[in-house]
């Protein structure tokens, strides 16, 4: 999920940085005062989740949670992901410093797409199985879009697109499933315990 230094070409890096700065700026500008703690906690959750490796069969994976962040935070997912990814890069070497912009964009854009795709439906859904379904959709689609964006970044930097997307996509199939299930459960849980969290997004995007 995290692209390291020295892999991407300069135009891709610059595009990534520019788009990410724009996204973070927009997210911050529209960030509600009362919602700052919520963004911070979800940002921390993302930061910690990537460090927990779950053994699955032949390999082990880690959660990403960008679908969940997008679903709850909307555009505020941009600053939340930017801080967490920055810290992961300087503290643990997850992803490089120069590729930080690209990494932020690759994870935040899918989060926002999932917000627009699933937020409305997830909060309207009455039945538990439907709520779970939309949560699952958001969680797994975020990973699908992220892997596509990563493959695209690598392709634009000169790697063979088909080969790369095959490798990344196959490696992330377990992540998509696990991520979907976890996001689904969280959405069902939130609907039962704190439905107002989903009912009032950080940004009124409607």
């Amino acid at each position: 999920m995290h692209i390291a230094d020295g892999v991407l070409s300069a135009p891709v890096l610059i595009t990534g940085i520019t788009l990410s700065i724009a996204g973070v700026g927009y997210g911050l500008q529209r960030l509600d005062y009362e919602r700052i703690p919520q963004v911070a906690v979800l940002s921390s959750a993302f930061f910690v989740a990537s460090l927990i490796h779950l053994p699955i069969g032949f390999s082990n994976i880690h959660l990403v949670l960008n679908g969940l962040l997008g679903l709850i935070l909307g555009w505020a997912a941009f600053p939340a992901l930017a801080i967490a990814l920055f810290l992961q890069a300087i503290l643990f070497g997850f992803g490089g410093m120069s590729s930080l912009g690209v990494n932020v964009f690759n994870m935040a854009l899918p989060a926002i797409i999932c917000f627009y795709l699933c937020h409305h439906a997830a909060r309207r859904a009455q039945h538990e199985s439907l709520q779970f379904f939309y949560g699952f959709l958001a969680g797994s689609l975020a990973i699908v879009f992220s892997t596509c964006l990563i493959a695209l970044s690598l392709f634009l930097s000169g790697e063979g697109f088909i080969r790369v997307i095959q490798l990344i996509f196959l490696a992330h199939i377990p992540v998509m499933v696990v991520e979907g299930i976890i996001t689904g459960f969280i959405v069902v849980f939130l609907q039962q315990v704190r439905p107002e969290l989903l009912a009032t997004p950080v940004l009124s995007c409607d």
């Binding site: 906690v41 959750a45 699955i56 069969g57």
Partner: protein, 196 residues
């Protein structure tokens, strides 16, 4: 408080990080070299030793040399025949494995290197037994002795370093979370200033 829920989520995630099950794949292998003998042990991050684990000893190009099994203290040993870079792999199944690289420089100089072995055997002459009787050491024996002594001294240091790295990781995790909340405070401050 709607925040409560998030705090619980975060604490759960932080807590998960310490659970042995999550780190179960983090089985660890530690090895040192004394002369031509590679010895070490397999353990879990908590310090518990892994018994009856198969340790594969291979050359750096993955060509398998031998497999050994750990004893009831999780220890194993292996006599290296060549002065080569070895890769030790402890595989406890289900994707949990540990790896340790022994550099050829750590092994005794008296061992033949792989390159010389592949050519028709240029056998290194065994040290002359008469040296022992004279109570004087050949240069080679001296080197072996010094290597033995040094690696014995280094062993606790290496172990310390490994545990230290574990600790640093946990500190970094906590530091990162603290940093995020620091930024939150900063945003609050800026927002407050703006509202005035």
């Amino acid at each position: 408080m709607r925040l409560n829920l998030y705090v619980k989520l975060l604490i759960t995630l932080l807590f998960l990080n310490w659970l042995p099950a999550v780190h179960a794949h983090k089985v660890k292998l530690f090895a040192t070299v004394i002369g031509d003998k590679i010895e070490g042990y397999v353990y879990f991050p908590g310090g518990e030793r892994a018994q009856s684990v198969t340790v594969k000893i291979a050359f750096i190009d993955n060509q398998l040399v031998e497999t050994v099994t750990t004893n009831e203290h999780g220890e194993f040993q292996f006599h290296a025949k060549y002065r080569a870079t070895y890769r030790l792999i402890a595989d406890i199944g289900e994707g949990h494995f540990a790896e340790y690289i022994i550099d050829s420089n750590e092994l005794s100089d008296s061992l033949p290197t792989l390159a010389t072995e592949k050519q028709p055997a240029v056998s290194s002459p065994p040290p002359a037994p008469t040296d022992q009787e004279n109570h004087s050491f050949s240069q080679q024996q001296l080197i072996d002795l010094i290597e033995k002594a040094v690696s014995k001294q280094l062993k606790p240091l290496r172990e310390q370093l490994e545990t230290y790295q574990e600790k640093i990781f946990i500190h970094d995790v906590l530091g990162g979370v603290g940093y995020i909340f620091g930024v939150m405070g900063l945003l609050f401050y800026i927002a407050k200033q703006r509202s005035h």
